[in-house]
Amino acid sequence: MRMMRKPTNVRRKRTLTTIREQTQCRFCREGKSYIDYKDVDTLSKLLTNRGKIFSRKRSGNCAGCQRKVKRAIKRARFMALLPYTT
């Protein structure tokens, strides 16, 4: 366990200093506990132009927020607010 943790910490530190300065995802920064599926403007920013959901790596979301986003997008797709595919 200890052997596993050490290299990830090193990698994380390097990315923090070199690539990104923000340490929290966009929803954590706003302090949102719930992501509304009716908020199409926010959700459509997390979709490719073919309607696919951006990866966590691309969107920068934390694991919890990515799950919330996933749920919200799938709800919005059911209500025809967002496309399944284009």
């Binding site: 719930y34 009716k38 209500m79 025809a80 967002l82 496309p83 399944y84």
Partner: protein, 154 residues
């Protein structure tokens, strides 16, 4: 024995825009009837937005969304969903419990309201601009003699 604890739910109903435009009363009556059948207490019911659907449902390409908040027995939610599926006016419904939602999310103005306020503001701005413009016109019209206006043509 009867312990029907009611919870607050948010329901978004989707109807064909053509039906909503032609007979709004029919749409609200249908929703109210379905909710009343499940003994739900409607807290608020208003039009959320009218927009083009991301994909056609049947042959419908434009839809009107109606946002309803209601208190209902959790065991009777599936009845509402089934009734919507059987209904010919309502296309789809999404019912969610609103416990996780903040009061802010619940009271957020609908896109329809935002558009209306913007339209109102725009109309006011335009009216003001027109008033200014007419004032300018009045100033210009003070000069009725236009014989001297074309002196530069030659």
């Amino acid at each position: 024995m009867e312990t029907a604890v009611k919870r607050l739910y948010e329901g978004l109903f989707l109807v064909d825009s053509a039906i909503a435009a032609a007979d709004w009363q029919l749409v609200t009556d249908t929703i109210n009837r379905i909710l009343a059948k499940a003994e739900a207490e409607v807290v608020s019911l208003h039009k959320w937005d009218e927009r083009k659907l991301s994909y056609d449902i049947g042959k419908v390409s434009r839809g009107t969304y109606i946002l309803v908040y209601f208190n209902c027995d959790p065991l009777r939610i599936h009845e509402i969903e089934r009734d919507v599926q059987l209904s010919e006016t309502l296309l789809r419904v999404m019912i969610l419990r609103t416990d996780r939602m903040s009061q802010e999310d619940i009271e957020k103005p609908t896109p329809m309201m935002v558009a209306e306020t913007q339209a109102q503001a725009a109309a006011e701005a335009q009216a003001r601009a027109e008033a200014d413009a007419t004032d300018d016109d009045d100033d210009a019209d003070d000069d009725f003699d236009d014989s001297d206006d074309r002196t530069d043509d030659d």
